[in-house]
């Protein structure tokens, strides 16, 4: 067990984490005879009962295809699907629902922009700016389109403290820069990038910005009009919603100017064998039957998060982050990566001097603690840190101070095995 006595530390707040946890069936289980401490929320989050219920209810009562039938079930399905779009709009404060395109997730959203906007706009010698923090899914789609067009990727470096080098970012713009694609919150370190300021800088150069919000939306309030993002992408499953659904926000004028992504039903207005007229926004980008139940589940997740409030979520997670940072500092040989708690969100990325992250992950698993180990799909970032892998404990609002104590105690077990 931990050598540090566990004092009572729950802060005086109305945040009732015990009640919240009761909403998540998966959190109630024992693994290897121990209560599950789920600290892998950056990979995916658990789902509250209302989300599970909304998906089941759709299939039980309203299941029909959307935008097609004249019958009642189709009308119900269509209205629920479009209501979900409106919920996403409100959640990120977009101006219009037609600026919300449903996609499979953040990865598809980025690929959509790369294959439409990117292929349309990039010419030989043009440049796309990304940062050292990017997930492979915000690197590879740009590499593919850059290779095809003879364009190139420019990479903004990070400081050794794990922050973006903002002066370097300012310097990397040229008259060939066509797009900035930048992560809002780093999945490997938790760093919160100053996207508002970065977008302002890009706009001074007349360059639009895509923000990868996969790790942001579950942890901090996002207002796409306040930050003035041109595109914003996120996944439902990292926001307590189902897998297979996500959203791409794009400013209407940009989306209008872009060619379609995939072709098929729903994305057309009229088809003859000579010519096809594309549908209006957002349907131009939603070929085929969409993940209707997924969108409805995502809307239920948004309602759930909105009821708690992202400000309160961010405050709770910040307390956990501060507490955990202090506790982890007591573990011998532990090195924590990334900036201090006031510049990051919900993530502890660390190594131990005596044990490889993969071994840490196995030992923690047997203590009932789920974490991620490896390169977190950020090999360039790992390379920059000079490590092959880290252990990553990532939080959600349902995590507790007690779970952090258990994490620290389990790391002591690792020391016992490897010490």
């Amino acid at each position: 067990m931990s050598s540090v006595p566990a004092a009572h530390r729950e802060p005086a707040t109305a945040f009732d984490v015990t009640a919240i946890r009761r909403d998540f069936p998966a959190l109630q289980q024992l693994v290897y005879g121990k209560p599950l401490a789920y600290l892998d929320n950056a990979a995916t989050t658990q789902k509250p009962e209302p989300v599970i219920q909304a998906i089941a209810d759709f299939y039980r009562h309203d299941n029909a295809n959307v935008h097609r039938g004249v019958h009642l079930l189709s009308e119900r399905a269509t209205s629920a699907y479009e209501a979900a779009r409106e919920d996403v709009r409100r959640f990120i404060n977009a101006g219009e629902a037609r600026e919300i395109v449903f996609v499979r997730g953040t990865t598809e959203a980025i690929n959509l922009v790369a294959q439409t906007f990117g292929r349309q706009r990039l010419r030989e010698g043009d440049e796309v700016i990304v940062s050292a923090f990017e997930h492979h899914s915000n690197i590879v789609p740009w590499q593919i389109v850059c290779d095809e067009k003879g364009a190139r990727l420019r990479v903004v470096p990070m400081t050794s403290a794990g922050d973006i080098q903002i002066e370097e970012y300012e310097r990397v713009f040229s008259d060939r820069t066509r797009l900035v694609s930048i992560v809002h919150v780093s999945n490997a370190l938790g760093t919160v990038n100053p996207v508002r300021r970065m977008i302002e800088i890009a706009h001074r150069h007349g360059v639009p910005v895509l923000v990868d919000g996969a790790q942001a939306v579950a942890h901090i309030p996002v207002d796409v009009r306040d930050i003035d993002a041109d595109f914003y992408a996120f996944s439902g499953h990292k926001l307590f919603g189902p897998t297979g659904i996500g959203a791409l926000y794009g400013k209407a004028a940009l989306l209008e100017s872009m060619p379609p992504y995939q072709a098929g039903g729903d994305m057309i207005r009229s088809v003859t064998f000579e010519r096809t007229q594309y549908n209006t926004l957002p349907y131009k980008f939603e070929a085929g039957t969409p993940d209707i139940a997924g969108a409805i589940g995502l809307a239920a997740a948004i309602h759930y998060v909105e009821r708690i409030g992202l400000d309160r979520i961010a405050a709770w997670e910040h307390e956990l982050l501060r507490y955990g940072t202090g506790r982890l500092a007591t573990v011998p040989g532990l090195r924590l990566y990334g900036p201090p708690p006031d510049r990051k969100a919900a993530i502890f990325s660390f190594t131990l001097s005596h044990a490889h992250p993969h071994d840490i992950g196995t030992i923690l698993d047997r203590e009932g603690i789920a974490i991620r180990t490896g390169h977190h799909c950020c090999q360039p970032l790992m390379h920059r840190l000079g490590v092959d892998a880290t252990a990553r404990a990532s939080l959600a609002f349902y995590n507790t101070f007690d779970e952090i104590d258990r994490l620290v105690a389990a790391l002591d077990r690792v020391q016992e095995v490897f010490g």
Partner: protein, 149 residues
């Protein structure tokens, strides 16, 4: 914790801390790189094959305790063996770490039997088998790095 002690036996921890046959082999005539993209483990196996016999074998690389100990134990066990014996060891080892619930560990595996606990940890089987797949690639002189993904 019982399972964990099965996995992280003292022998394994020792090989992890002080791996045998660790380093490059200057007069190697076969080599291959192995990589496990899931966890970032990578290693290079060097060997000197004289006729049918693995005369010398070493490895370098970085990875978890299981992959490092497995590579260390493997180099000990195949040194001086013929290609046929090495191939039989590969099969026996593979069988041991992948057949869950099987209590029968072939006696021929010798010290390699300490890795039998891996079979209770499906996510770790690839760590234990990385060195062996890399050895196989080296013997086949496959030019590309192999992965266990």
């Amino acid at each position: 914790m019982g399972d964990l002690r099965e996995l992280y036996q003292e022998v394994i921890l020792d090989h992890n801390r002080r791996p045998h046959n660790f380093g490059e082999l200057p007069d190697a005539n076969r080599r291959a790189e192995g990589y496990n993209p899931l966890c970032g483990d990578h290693l290079t196996v060097f060997l000197r094959l004289e006729g049918e016999v693995v005369r010398e074998i070493t490895f370098v690389g970085s990875g978890c305790a299981i992959s490092k100990a497995s590579a260390s134990l493997m180099t000990d066990s195949v040194k001086g063996k013929t290609l046929g014996e090495t191939s039989a060891l590969f099969d026996a080892f593979h069988q041991m770490v992948t057949s869950s619930g099987a209590d029968q560990t072939p006696a021929a595996l010798g010290k390699l039997a300490v890795l039998a606990g891996v079979r209770e940890f499906p996510a770790r089987v690839k760590c234990a088998s990385l060195a062996w797949h890399t050895l196989k690639a080296a013997l086949a002189a496959e030019p590309e790095p192999v992965t266990t993904e």
